[in-house]
């Protein structure tokens, strides 16, 4: 494998890792507050449809992004109602919302555009176009670093950079702010937070809303950045890969970045079987690469390589009276 091919694969890795990273950080906020969310997939799908449709209708990708976030937040509200207000089963709520999203996205897209559940192809300002970072041309001549900067780091769309900036922001919010301390506490021991006079319900709703916003960005990136328009089931399990990455990262932001980059790298490799054969001297079946994130997650869950311990109060509704 030569350097140019490696850069190409790394470039694809960054593109593929972005929706995973946004969704993974989304799940991190929710699960750290004690609300399990296996509905990341559905929220992304909904956001993809809403942003694709609105961007196509309005011609502006920014309005599309807002619509995507809106669609995803709507699902967050339902999930919050079911799991916080009505103390229902959070896992079942997530599963249900994924199906609702699968159905609703196609119904709406079909009734709006009559293109078999797709939204029309986006062009120009209706898409997130590549951003060229400064000094690309100046640095290009520098060996190794120059091409890396030009190919892998520069030339992505706005949401890619937003996703990578979200990692330190999440870390800061989680470990350096009062909100973060309370958020982590409410996921481990909601009684203590309640005793301190902080509203468990409000904290958890806030966390679930942040999840909605980040999932909205992830879905919008799928439909307006990675691809030019929404297509039926376009998230193709990415919400579950993000969930896997979250466990793999043991619910920590920097590790989430590593995990999603790793899983994005697998996805990028799966597109280039020729490179795998050339590098490893043997063909690795593409399905094996597809399954790798899930297998790694199961191994981590099993505790063979460092145990993954979820937030202690995760999945349990908080009952104040009694």
């Amino acid at each position: 494998m030569d350097y140019a091919t490696l850069l190409q694969i790394l470039d694809t890795t960054v593109r593929f890792a972005t929706p995973l990273l946004l969704a993974c950080l989304a799940g991190l906020f929710s699960e750290r507050s004690g609300i399990f969310d296996i509905g990341l997939e559905g929220k992304m799908l909904m956001a993809g449809m809403a942003s694709g449709a609105v961007a196509a209708l309005s011609g502006s990708v920014w309005i599309g992004l807002l619509a995507g976030i809106g669609g995803s937040v709507l699902f967050s509200i339902v999930h919050g109602l079911a799991s916080i207000t009505f103390r229902g089963n959070q896992l079942i709520s997530g599963v249900a919302l994924n199906f609702v999203a699968s159905g609703a996205t196609v119904l709406v897209a079909q009734s709006l555009f009559h293109q078999g559940g797709r939204t029309p192809p986006l062009t120009g300002d209706a898409r997130f176009n590549p951003v060229t970072l400064p000094f690309v041309d100046t640095l290009r001549e520098v060996p190794l670093i120059g091409p890396f900067y030009a190919e892998v780091i520069s030339g992505h769309s706005f949401l890619v950079y937003a996703a990578f900036v979200a990692v330190p922001l999440t870390w800061w919010a989680l470990y350096r702010t009062r909100f973060g301390l309370r958020l982590r506490a409410v996921g481990e021991n909601p009684e203590s937070v309640d005793t301190a006079g902080v509203s468990v319900i409000r904290l958890r709703y806030t966390a679930v809303m942040i999840t909605g916003i980040l999932c909205g960005m992830a879905g919008a990136y799928m439909a307006t950045g990675l691809q030019a328009g929404f297509g039926k089931e376009m998230t193709a399990g990415r919400g579950y890969i993000a969930l896997a990455a979250l466990i793999f990262a043991k619910w920590r932001p920097w590790y989430a970045l590593m995990a999603t980059l790793l899983f994005g790298f697998f996805q990028a490799l799966a597109l280039r079987p020729d490179v795998i054969e050339g590098t490893f001297g043997m063909a690795i079946p593409v399905p094996a690469l597809d399954a790798l994130p899930y297998i790694l997650t199961v191994i981590v869950l099993a505790g063979f390589v460092g145990r993954a311990i979820p937030p202690r109060a995760g999945g349990q509704p908080y009952v104040k009276e009694r």
């Binding site: 009505f86 994924n98 699968s102 159905g103 196609v106 579950y240 079946p285 869950l301």
Partner: protein, 363 residues
């Protein structure tokens, strides 16, 4: 919140949930500019209006009974098996291997062997998540989700690289020998008076009914069933009573996986006559809705499976005959799961208003 009478909890809660899901779906149909009444008419006509429609409805019902029972058995042990989809696909692998292994002389032998193969493969696929849950405390929901995806990848690999006959383009196994073809409703004496030759509903429908009875027997008439239910109600009480958590989690998940796998005798052996990619087509997930709607009782599961069979066949017909996309089925399915499984407290609160004790003034 007052406790509802049992009959209200068993009958009214699922029905109100279904009604809420139907109302929201009707609003969605109206919003996208279609007529909900017409949609329902087309669905009912498509599912029950003709012998072939009924045959399709019962075909789907059969699959959903198996996956619904799978979720039910695990539920009673306090485990949420969301991996029915993967277990059903791997069950299909078991069926395919059994059917292709021998030139089966008669379908009865083939059915018996394939049922064992399906159940064994399905159970094996549930065994690893079960072991990890019982021994290492891994979350069963997450591991079974992961195993769904691993199963899909495994089946793709096997179909493309190993099981596909030479010269065949599409990734699928060879057709099963004729001796391994199950009689469909058009070939069963008596039923053949109603159904024509080429209908998908087949003898595995009766296996599904037997499985309903078997699960009832297991859960409410055997020591093991008692242990499963006791463990599901209270883990600590069950352990105090000398019930082994490891055994209950393992056995209940193996039975659950086996039941999900057995779905394959209906769709793979009874209808497709070969194993294709994504053979379960979401039936594993519908099992969740069926079990929730059927209140985790075999009779309820049967009725809910029939309802979803109707929704699936009727929905397919609606997708063909009207401009409403077939994906409405997914929306309905999601809403039913949402209301019966996650918002059931809300439904109970709504019903609670009508069941308040009348002697309130006296208190």
């Amino acid at each position: 919140m007052e406790k509802l009478p049992t009959w209200a909890d068993v009958v009214l809660v699922p029905l109100i949930s279904l009604l809420l899901a139907a109302i929201i779906s009707a609003i969605v149909i109206l919003a996208i500019g279609n007529d909900p009444i017409e949609a329902v008419t087309v669905m009912v006509d498509g599912a029950f209006g003709s012998a072939s429609g009924i045959a399709y409805t019962l075909f789907y019902t059969t699959s959903f009974i198996f996956t619904g029972l799978a979720v039910t058995v695990a539920y009673h042990a306090g485990q949420f098996n969301i991996g029915g989809e993967g277990q059903a696909q791997i069950g299909g692998l078991g069926v395919a291997l059994v059917c292709l292994a021998l030139p089966w002389p008669h379908w009865t032998l083939a059915l018996a062997a394939a049922t064992v193969g399906a159940a064994a493969f399905g159970a094996a696929w549930a065994a690893i998540p079960a072991y990890l849950a019982a021994k290492r405390g891994s979350h069963i929901v997450i591991t079974t989700i992961m195993f769904n995806y691993i199963a899909a990848a495994l089946i793709v690999y096997l179909l493309v690289e190993v099981l596909r006959p030479a010269g065949q383009m599409d990734p699928a196994t060879a057709r099963f020998p004729t001796g391994a073809e199950l009689p469909n409703f058009g070939e069963i004496p008596g039923l053949s008076l109603i159904f024509s030759k080429r209908v998908p509903a087949n003898v595995s429908f009766f296996v599904a009914l037997a499985a309903c009875w078997g699960v009832w027997l297991l859960l409410w008439r055997t020591r093991l069933g008692y242990e499963i239910r006791a463990f599901g109600k209270s883990e600590s009480a069950a352990v105090y009573a000398g019930i082994s958590p490891f055994k209950v989690v393992m056995v209940s998940m193996l039975i659950s996986g086996g039941l999900a796998g057995m779905m394959a005798i209906n769709n793979v052996m009874g209808e497709a006559h070969r194993l294709v990619q994504n053979s379960a087509e979401g039936a594993g997930f519908i099992g969740i809705a069926v079990a929730l709607m059927g209140r985790n009782h075999p009779i309820g599961v049967f009725l809910a499976a029939l309802l979803f069979g109707f929704l699936y066949q009727g929905g397919a017909e609606m997708g063909l005959m009207t401009s409403i996309p077939i994906e409405l089925r997914l929306l309905l399915q999601g809403l039913v799961i949402l209301f019966t499984g996650a918002l059931d407290t809300m439904v109970r609160m709504m019903l609670g208003v009508f069941f308040r004790p009348r002697t309130k003034e006296a208190l």
